[in-house]
């Protein structure tokens, strides 16, 4: 019996042995859906696609697809929000909280997605053997975009981490929060690094990026470097950068102000940098946020969000004070400032909205005397309404008229009133507003500041600059100016010092140890 049992054991053991030895190879399964990261960054083509991906964040929900325009515009005294969505309307009344990070939290998240992609380019592309010119242009764009994304982060949130490399392992995830001052220094450093690497234009570069309208140029980097200096009251350096832009000699004002906000005249001579949108290129699915996908549309949702009632959601609309500002000075032919008609829809004789007569559309509704956004809307007969969510109008982030007015502002601060007046009038002249160069030259510095404030509101209403201006001019801490703002926009009634910054999203505080929330949140 013993022998027999032993045999059984042997049988069992041998079976097991046979079974154990096989099949390991089948455990190797490669992802059929995507290339592995470790096999990437080998060619110039990889580098170019890598930098393209760094741009792609500009079309996400928190960036320029929707919320950056909201966050930039709605706090201004020229804009109000009666949106039922508190992520928008609470911007207007400085009442955002940390329990719901919708909107501002998406912006925070997505600008860092952009920085991650820029850092991948900056870490990997220098090692690639490829055309040296193209390599420089790609690295220049990566510095520019990182500077641009950090600009938004520091401007919105103040003290933020400054990751300068893609994380190599999990311990790199916890980049310490920096001061806003350190943030500005990094922004300036990035734009400075970008300037010599970037071409003035892509029409002459040759290579696989030739004629790519929409890529960052030297002028754009100079303009943003100047703007960063200006925001830090370094008027000398700011002035020099704006002058550099002017001296490039390739920018000019469009004869028709309105051409800056339509699909027809995108990437025009007045544009230093703009976010590219289209309804005809790319997929059809609205790619708000998430893991990107080629089915995503390349369209903006700004127009529906800011759009007039019955044509869009009207989450954002001009304030009455913003509207009234346009009537303070008439054009040369005594008509209303032509920029008003490019900026707003309102009840005036013969007004049309989305190709229909205002009176017919709103005649019997409470909207009849409303004021609605026109800038960046498709409301001049291009579309029936905005309810498909998709707008193809590029968002102009930096226009030459901004360079001119920022340059003028620097000259005023530096005491060069004649130079200031000349450049302010340049922008007025394009809008057919009477020449007041002589008068402006006689203004005190303080008078000129107020004039520039007025000029900038008219020129840039709905372009997201107003609140930045208010803040850097110190109006929020000037009781007279703050009282004026409260009068112009009731949203300022609930402003308290500190609310000029958005809250840092709670998840950053929770997950990046040592991160401090902004005061008042």
């Amino acid at each position: 019996m013993k022998n027999k049992n032993f045999k059984y054991y042997l049988t069992l053991l041998s079976f097991s042995g046979v079974l154990l030895g096989s099949c390991n190879k089948d455990l190797v399964q490669n992802n059929p859906n995507a290339q592995t990261s470790s096999s990437y960054w080998q060619t110039g083509g990889d580098a170019l696609q890598g930098i393209n991906a760094a741009y792609a964040v500009l079309t996400l929900d928190g960036t320029y697809m929707r919320f950056s325009p909201v966050l930039e515009n709605v706090r201004g005294d020229d804009i109000i929000s009666h949106s039922p969505w508190t992520a928008i309307s609470n911007v207007d009344i400085f009442a955002l909280g940390t329990s719901d990070a919708s909107g501002y939290g998406w912006a925070y998240d997505e600008y860092y997605e952009g920085i991650y992609r820029c850092n991948q380019v900056l870490d990997n592309v220098p090692k690639i053997t490829m055309d040296a010119g193209l390599k420089n242009r790609i690295l220049g764009q990566a510095y520019f975009l990182r500077g641009l994304y950090l600009f938004h982060l520091v401007n919105f949130f103040g003290n933020v981490p400054l990751p300068l490399h893609a994380p190599a392992n999990t311990s790199d995830f916890f980049v310490k929060q920096s001061t806003a001052a350190a943030g500005w220094a990094q922004i300036e450093s990035d734009f400075k690094a970008a300037i010599p690497l970037l071409p003035v234009a892509y029409s002459t570069t040759g290579g696989s990026d030739a004629n790519d309208l929409g890529r960052a140029t030297q002028g754009a980097a100079m303009g943003y470097l100047g703007k960063a200096y200006l925001f830090n009251k370094d008027f000398t350096n700011a002035s020099a950068q704006f002058k550099n832009v002017i001296n490039l000699g390739i920018y000019g004002l469009m004869p028709n102000y309105k051409d800056n906000f339509t699909e027809a005249k995108e990437n025009n001579q007045e544009s230093l940098f703009e976010v590219q949108f289209s309804t005809t290129v790319g997929g059809t699915v609205l790619g708000w946020q998430g893991i990107p996908n080629s089915t995503w549309a390349e369209a903006s949702a700004r127009a529906i969000t800011f759009g007039a009632p019955d044509f869009g959601w009207t989450d954002v609309q001009p304030s009455v004070s913003g509207f009234n500002e346009f009537f303070l000075e008439k054009a040369k032919d005594s008509s209303v400032d032509p920029r008003l008609d490019a900026t707003m829809f309102y009840n005036k004789p013969g007004e049309t909205i989305y190709g229909q007569l205002w009176a017919n559309v709103y005649g019997n509704t409470p909207y009849i005397n409303g004021i609605y956004n026109r800038k960046y809307e498709n409301g001049d007969g291009n579309k029936a309404n905005e309810f498909d969510w998709k707008s193809g109008i590029n968002e102009r982030l930096m226009r030459y008229s901004d360079i001119l007015l920022m340059y003028a502002e620097c000259q005023n601060e530096l005491g060069n009133s004649a130079e200031c007046a000349k450049y302010v009038q340049m922008v007025r002249t394009r809008a057919n507003i009477p020449d007041k160069t002589v008068l402006f030259t006689s203004f005190t510095q303080a008078q000129m500041r107020d004039q520039i404030a007025h000029e900038r509101l008219l020129e840039f209403c709905l372009e997201g600059h107003r609140f930045d201006d208010i803040r850097r001019w110190g109006w929020l801490s000037d009781p007279t100016k703050l009282a004026m703002l409260k009068q112009r926009d009731a949203g300022f009634n609930s402003y308290i010092p500190g609310k000029e910054l958005y809250p840092i999203p709670q998840s950053e505080i929770d997950n990046n140890p040592g991160t401090k929330q902004n005061p008042t949140y």
Binding site: N24, L27, A54, G97, T170, F173, T284, Q506
Partner: protein
């Protein structure tokens, strides 16, 4: 040596006599002896068909016929051994050569029942691990399509949460959370591990066993960390064909209404909210406005809730011979929703099993086919239905009409300026949007077992499980007012297939020597999962007449996407059961799994379990009193693995090549790594400890099992939040991060009275569950859910928010208190500032510093109680189930107490105003600048409930009358009610709601309430 061999053979035969499969051993040999005839009946004289009669010590066997009669070759002095399910085995010595009528006595002890464990069976009395045997009869009284729902309250340690949505997901957990992904257990149906067990008809189930600890489940190794539920479906028995029919049909309703505002009340509250915010009154609510709404007063709850129907029919036929027995059944289940719209779930099922044995070869095959259709509730592509369909139904404003012929689509909506409210018309959306999911599933399995030499068996088991699914969504252009305006049709169609192939080879060997017996098992399995899908979308401003892709004129409107993946799992396994004299029992399990989901360096995981039991009843030295008929101590320890939460390629960092942009108005392809990954991912593991006592009293009329368990799950794979500043999407890292402990007591007690005309059974179970997070990975940053926080030392998903201290009554109150917001005023909620800062006006209340824990979302105790009784031909049963000691974040109530545009709970009428200050309902204010509606204790409620889940009364038609039909052998009719009574303080629809079951487990966001069902059913046999 010969004696030894005989002993051995005797032992084996003794075993085989008791087990189903082996009863036909040796029946091929017929001895020329006298024919013994007789009849087998129960003690009331009722014939018992299909009882097994064996001549003891000889290979002769037969079964009784329909009328209980049998014929067997035997001689005087032989002993007939008769076995029949549910009756005690009986031996009768043959006295003469003629008739021998045998009365069988119903068995009260179930200890000889065979329990199906992984890769084999074991007698209940020999169990060492923690296994719950579900009373399938009780469980089947629940009218549901999903076996998981059937188990609610039926077994200690098993928690089930479901909703009233037809075909909706049911969450089932065994002994708490052991992973941060899918916590549903592994289901093994007829030996085949399957996911999505809801595809299969519950009627076909014969038995259900729940393996709760590692010593029981380690044989399933990497798959078993969340527990294993073993389901055996009905098999044929050697007999003439028998047909069974079971059917029920019933109506379903929402048993509760939530009190909501009517038109005038709504207009009053919202006008107050606008006035408080310094806004003009919305024209629709302003009696002085020409747009004032005075004629519409929609009761959305009344209009949207209707009566749903539920029906289920199943016909089965079984029979066959020993060499080939079959069971075949077809089923149909159909449930329509109780919310207005075409939503429903229906399912056709086929289940067929064949089994047989010829000599040393046993074999079987299974083929199951399911075709199901689920019509889903309102989900739109571009227009969020805020809070979900149920919450949106409740918050829909009464001044919105249901229908409006002037609007595109014909359904009513709100106006941006007149009503100012964004309000979803869920009736409109449910009807306009077509959204459904179809599933076709084939589960095929074939096995053969060869007894190579005596007691050495080789078994091969092949199975193939394939699900073809199609998800379809179409929404036309519509206009349902503010926000709900769709100017583009949207169509989505996804086709996918998931396939699982499995090969299992096992060798088993049984050995008995004197008082020692040993069962050994070794095996190898290889599993391959393949998934593929392809989806197309189309979106355009044209109107689509035909909603198929070929009908789309503009190809530019279409996009296509797809994905594929393969995962493999290769395992070796082994088990040894040792039994000494029925007194000492030892089990050791082992499994080594290799998975393609991990990087090569961490590919393999080893899992093992050990258990021992001491059967004190069989110890003669103890002299236990005769009332104690069973006393057993069990101890178990082991480790289980898990990888179910993990994607196929999660460890591999990849390049996303769809990060596109535009230059010069043409597409510029972008490629980048967008998500961070952890290349060192490894197995999750759960170590379990189990101690148990089984006690049977008074001939096992009373049975008690008490268990203590402790499970520590380590290296839990979870997406831990990482700083947003990393720039990854998602802003999480999937990694082995967390560790969680679950422990608790379980008790099951049963009493049965089986004699007399009035027979009954009581089975009750209760268990506790205590959950502690030991580790969260990285820097152990807490994980925040909706109104919850998970941190080390606390439970998963503990409720978390602000404490409130009533309302501010004066400006002075506001000014003395910690700062909340610039617009905080009397009538706003006073939130408690923590750390002694409450009365410091220079301190600002923040989420970071002032939120606190507000209660446990995990019940302290879960319980279930079944009572079944028989009196003559009547039977009656009730089933109570519930839990106690948890808190719920009632997000539905929160949505109804906003004081914003949107309908409100009638409690909101009690809002604070200068003339009414004695209240805890804050002033309504559009925009809610004080955040009165934020997560706070105002919305935390008790989750304790007791439900009368089922009450049933049945009548079995007496056989005397049935005989007249010459067709039926059994007819039982019954009336049943489900979810009849809920005892709870809860303000929402139903304290038994479905949530994410994890980090926001205590959040009721608007689950479809479980329906109250009344139904009529019939069970027949012929």
């Amino acid at each position: 040596m010969k004696k030894c061999k005989n002993e051995f053979r005797k032992g084996v035969r003794w075993f085989s006599l008791l087990s189903f499969i082996c009863i036909f051993l040796g029946t091929n040999f017929v001895y020329a002896q006298s024919q013994i005839k007789g009849k087998i009946t129960d003690k009331d004289g009722k014939p018992l068909s299909n009882a097994t009669i064996v001549v003891k010590g000889k290979p002769t066997a037969t079964t009784s016929k329909e009328d209980g009669s049998y014929t067997i070759s035997a001689k005087a002095g032989d002993v007939l051994f008769v076995s029949y399910i549910g009756f005690q085995n009986t031996e009768i010595k043959i006295n003469g050569t003629t008739g021998q009528n045998i009365q069988l006595i119903a068995k009260t002890s179930s200890l000889d029942d065979v329990v199906v464990v992984g890769y084999g069976t074991v007698k209940k009395k020999d169990l060492t691990g923690s296994v719950s045997i579900v009373n399938v009869g009780d469980a089947k009284k629940v009218a549901t399509y999903d076996v998981a729902k059937m188990l609610q309250g039926q077994a200690a340690g098993v928690s089930v949460q479901g909703s009233g949505e037809p075909g909706g997901y049911v969450a089932i957990k065994i002994r708490g959370i052991s992973t941060f992904g899918d916590n549903s257990p592994l289901f093994v149906i007829d030996g085949v591990p399957v996911s999505a067990p809801f595809d299969f008809a519950t009627d076909d189930i014969e038995s259900i066993q729940v393996l709760k600890d590692a010593s029981a489940a380690a044989i399933y190794g990497s798959r078993a960390a969340t527990g294993v539920i073993i389901i055996t479906t009905k098999k044929g028995k050697s007999s003439v064909p028998k047909i069974t029919i079971s059917s029920y049909a019933g109506v379903q309703n929402v048993p509760k209404k939530i009190p909501l505002l009517d038109r005038v009340q709504y207009q009053t509250v919202v006008s107050a909210a606008e006035t408080n915010a310094g806004l003009s009154i919305a024209p629709a609510n302003d009696p002085t406005s020409p747009y004032y709404v005075s004629t519409i007063n929609t009761d959305w709850q009344k209009s949207a809730l209707k009566t749903g129907l539920i029906q289920n029919h199943n016909v089965g036929v079984s029979g066959g011979t020993e060499a080939l027995a079959y069971n075949l059944s077809v089923g149909y289940f159909d449930q329509t929703g109780y919310q207005a719209g075409p939503q429903k779930y229906d399912r056709y099922t086929l289940n067929s099993n064949i089994t047989g044995k010829k000599g040393i070869l046993s074999y079987g095959a299974k083929l199951a086919y399911t075709e199901s259709h689920k019509g889903n509730y309102a989900a739109t592509n571009g227009h969020a239905v805020f809070g979900g369909t149920v919450t949106s139904m409740l918050t829909a404003i009464p001044t919105m009409p249901i229908y409006d012929n002037t609007k595109l689509g014909g359904y009513g909506g709100t106006d941006q300026s007149i009503n100012r409210a964004i309000s979803a018309n869920v009736i409109g959306i449910n009807n306009l949007v077509t959204d459904y999911s179809n599933r076709n599933r084939v589960l095929a399995n074939v096995w053969a077992e060869l007894e190579i030499v005596k007691n050495l068996k080789y078994k091969i088991n092949l199975s193939y499980d394939r699900t073809d699914y199609m998800n379809y969504h179409y929404e036309p252009k519509f206009d349902m007012g503010y926000y709900y305006i769709n100017s583009q049709y949207y169509m989505y169609q996804q086709y996918g297939v998931s396939k699982t192939g499995l090969i299992e080879n096992t060798l088993s060997y049984a050995l008995k020597y004197k008082k020692h017996s040993l069962d050994m098992l070794a095996g190898l399995t290889y599993q391959k999962d393949d998934n593929q899908w392809m989806a197309a979308t189309s979106q355009d401003t044209t109107t689509l007449v035909n909603t198929v892709f070929s009908a789309i004129a503009n190809q530019g409107a279409n996009t296509v996407s797809g994905q594929a993946g393969t995962a493999t799992l290769y395992s070796t396994l082994g088990r040894i059961n040792y039994n000494y004299d029925g007194r000492f029992l030892l089990t050791a399990n082992f499994r080594r799994d290799g998975s393609s989901k991990f990087a090569p360096v961490n590919r393999y995981g080893n899992f093992m379990g050990f258990a021992g039991a001491w059967n004190l009843t069989n110890e003669k030295f103890l002299h236990l009193p005769s009332q104690i008929t069973n006393l057993k101590l069990r101890l178990g320890y082991g480790t289980l693995g898990n990888q179910s939460s993990l994607g196929y390629y999660s460890w591999q960092s990849y390049i996303n090549n769809g990060t596109n942009y535009l230059f010069n108005n043409s597409l510029a392809v972008g490629a980048s790594t967008v998500s961070v990954t952890d290349p060192s991912l490894k197995w999750e593991s759960t170590t379990t400890k189990n101690a148990a006592l089984d006690l049977g009293l008074f001939n096992d009329k009373i049975n008690l099992t008490a268990e203590y368990f402790e499970r520590v799950s380590s290296d839990i794979i979870t997406a831990i939040p990482i700083p947003l500043s990393v720039g990854s999407f998602p802003a999480t890292l999937t990694t082995n991060a967390a560790s969680v402990k679950n422990n608790g007591f379980e008790a099951t007690i049963g009493y049965k009275k089986t004699d007399g005309k009035f027979k009954f059974n009581i089975n009750a179970n209760a268990y506790t569950l205590h959950n502690t997070v030991l580790k969260l990975g990285g820097t152990n940053n807490p994980i925040y859910g909706s109104g919850s926080k998970t941190e080390v030392g606390k439970e998963v998903g503990q409720l978390y928010g602000y404490q409130t201290e009533g309302l501010f009554q004066s400006v002075a109150d506001v000014n003395k208190h910690a700062f909340q917001s610039a617009l905080t005023a009397p009538g706003d909620v006073r939130f408690k500032a923590q750390n002694g800062k409450d009365n410091d006006p220079t301190y600002t209340i923040t989420d970071g510093n002032d939120r606190v824990y507000l209660g446990s979302a995990i019940p302290k105790v879960y319980f279930g109680l079944n009572f079944d009784a028989n009196y003559g031909n009547f039977d009656f049963s009730v089933f109570f189930q519930g839990n106690a000691g948890s808190k719920v974040f009632n997000a539905v109530y929160q949505s109804l107490m906003t004081g914003q545009y949107g309908n409100q709970h009638t409690d909101e009428l009690n809002y604070w105003r200068a003339s009414h200050t004695n209240t805890n309902v804050p002033r309504p204010m559009i925009g809610d600048p004080n955040g009165n509606n934020r997560f706070s204790d105002l919305f935390v409620e008790s989750g304790t409930y007791v439900k009368l889940q089922n009450a049933q009364i049945g009548y079995t038609i007496p056989e005397k009358q049935l005989i007249k039909t010459h067709l039926f052998t059994r007819i039982r009719v019954y009336l049943s009610g489900q979810n009849l009574i809920t005892i709870a303080k809860y303000k929402g629809y139903d304290p038994d709601f479905i949530s994410d079951g994890l980090f926001s487990r205590g959040l009721d966001y608007g689950s479809f309430p479980n329906a109250r069902t009344f139904m009529f059913g019939i069970q027949a046999g012929l």
